[in-house]
Amino acid sequence: MKNSSRHIWEQPWGYREGILIAAGIGLSGLILQLFLGNIHPTLFAAPLNLIIGALFMTGLLAVYLLARKRPLGRWLTSVAATLPALALFLLLSIFLGVIPQFPSGSETALPDNLFTSLGWYRMTTSWPFVLICFYLLLILGLTTLRHTTRKQEWRDIGFYLNHLGLFIALLGGVLGSADMERLTMRVQEGQVEWRGTTATGALKELPLAIQLDSFLLEEYPPKLVVIEHESGRMLPTERPESYMFEGVGKTTDLAGYTVEILEYLPHAAIFSNDSITRVVPMLMEGATAALRVRVTPEGGAAPKEGWVSNGSYLYPHSLLRIDETRSLAMPLQEVKRYTSHVTLYTEEGHTRKSLIEVNHPVMMEEWMIYQYSYDDTMGKYSDTSVFELVRDPWLKVVYTGIFMLLAGALFLFFAGPKKSRS
C-alpha cells in the first residue's frame, strides 16, 4: 500500500477499504443470522429464485451503468476489492470443510452451542456465506462487464471464458439449488412404481413409471482372511492381510499360514450340525460360495483341512478353526457391479427399455434416474432395486458455465500469464 498517507475511505480506495467492506458484509450476515437463523431453502425455490436473480442482475447492471466511471465502480472491479472478498469466502469455506454439516430440512437437533447460532452447522444456507457469495458475484459480474470496454485482444477470450463461465455456473448453482428435486424409489422385480419418496419421507407422484424387469448383482471372487475368534479381528492386527481367490490349486501365505485352495464351489449349500459339515453344489437362490482349503501353520504343525464359506441369507457362514484362538474366514464378497433392467413408461404413453447402473443414469421426462441401492440383506439375491430420481431445471445453466470454465482452464494452461512488459 503505497498511498499510506491517504486517510481511510479517502479515494482511491485500496486493500484497507476492501477488508472493511468484506468484513462489514460478513458482520451484517452474522447479525441477520443471529436474528433470523439459517436461510430457509424455499426462499430460493421457484419463482422466488427467478425474482432474486432478476433483481440481482438489474442491480448489477444499475451499479455498472451508474458507477462505472466513478471511483467506487472502478474500485469494485479491482484486485483490492476482490482479494478480501475471496479471503473471507475462503475462511468460511474452511469452517465448512472442518465442521461436520447437517443437511437442511432434516429435523435432527443441532448441538446446543455457538456454532449453531452462527449457522456453521449449515454453512451453505447461512447468511454470511450467501451474502459473501453474492458480493463475489457482484464483483465478478462488474469486472466482466468492465472488461468489455477495453480494447480487446485474443487473450481476452480466456478472460471471458473464466470470469463469465464462473459467474454463470455460480449464479445458476446458487439460484437453482432449491429447485432441485431428489427422490428415491424402491421397485421389486416384476412391479411397476410411479411414486418417489422425498428426503423427509413424503410420497410424490411422478410423470413416469419404472418397471423392474430384473436386477443383477455381480461380486468379486471370495477372499480369505485369518481372524481371532474372540474379537473377530483380522490378522495381523496392524495390517490385516487377505487373499482373493484366483483358482483351484493355488497356494498363498496368509498371516503366517500357508493356505492351499483345494476346491471351489461358487454355488453351494451347507448343512451342518455339531459334528459334521456337508457342503454340496446347489444351483439355486440362496446358494453361497465355498472354498475347501488346507491350512499349514508355520513350524511344521499338522495341517487343517475343511470348508470355509461366507454364507447367505439362507445359510450361516462357516469358519475353519486353525487352532485354539484363530480361524480362517471368508468375509462377504465385495460388489463389482449391479444393474437394473427396466422398462420406463411416461404419462403420454411412451415406453422405453433401459439398463441402469452406477455411473450410467438414464434421462426420462426431465428426470435423471440413478441406480442407488438394493436390498443388501439379500445381497446378490436381492429382487429389489432402489433408484434415485433427480430433476434439476438449472442444470443447463450451470453446465454452460462449467464448459466455459473448462475451455478457460485449457486457455490458461496454454496461454499462461500475461508477459510483464518491464
Binding site: 470454465l405 482452464a409 494452461f413
Partner: protein
Amino acid sequence: MSWDQFIYFAMGALLLWGTGAALAYSPARKIISTLFTLGGLMLFFAFIAGLWVSLERPPLRTMGETRLWYSFFLPVAGLLTYLRWNYRWILSFTTILSAVFIMVNLLNPDIHNKVLMPALQSPWFAPHVIIYMFSYAILGAVTLIAIYYLIRGKRIKEPARIMEMTDNLVYAGTACITLGMLMGAIWAKEAWGHYWSWDPKETWAAITWIGYLIYIHYRLKRSSSNKIAMVILIIAFVMLQICWYGVNYLPSAKQSIHTYSS
C-alpha cells in the same frame, strides 16, 4: 507386478533421477541429464503400467497408489521446468521430494487389492485423478521454489525471473486443478446425482482452488510484494495437502462419500 517389486523400480528410478539432477549442475549438455531423467521416468512408469495390468484396474484408488503417480509426476514437472527455464537446481528439488513420497510408499506399503467399487468404474476416474496428481506435482515444485525464494531472501539474483517462472507454473497448475475439479463435478453428476454437494473433499478442492486464485489475482497488482506472493503459495499448498489426504482426519470426514482407501 506387485508392490513387492516396487523397491527395485523405485531405487533404479531414483538413481537415474539423482544422476540426471547431479549432471544438471555440471557443464555437461542439457540433453544428458534430460536422458537420465527420462530413463528414470520410463522405469518408474513401467512399474505403474505393470501394477495397472496386475490389478486389472487403474492404480488410482488408494492413497499409496496416488502417491505413486505423484512421485512420477514430480520429476516430469521438474524436467519441464528445467528444459523451459534452465534452472539447474529444480531437478534435485523434485527428485528429493519424489524420494520422500517413494519412501512413504516403501515404509507403508499398500496391500495388493483388485477391488474397484462401482462408483469408481467410470471413464472419468483416470483423467480426474491423473490430472490432479499432475497439478499437485507442478504446485509442489512451485512450493519448493517459494521456500527457496524465502530462505535465500535478499541473495536471490534474478527475482523477476523467478517470479515469471512461478507465475507460469502456477497458471499451469491452477489450470489443471480447475480441469480436475470440473471433471469431478461432471462425474459426480453421473455417479451421485449432483455436480456439487459440498462433500468435505469437494469443499477442500474449492478452498485449494481459491487459494491459487488469490495468488494469481494478487500478482496482477504491480505493487504486490514477491514475499507475500510466495507466502500465499505455501499456504495454498498446505490447503492442497489437506484436500489430498488431511481431510480424512478432520471432524467433517465422517460424512464424506469421497473415501476409497479402506
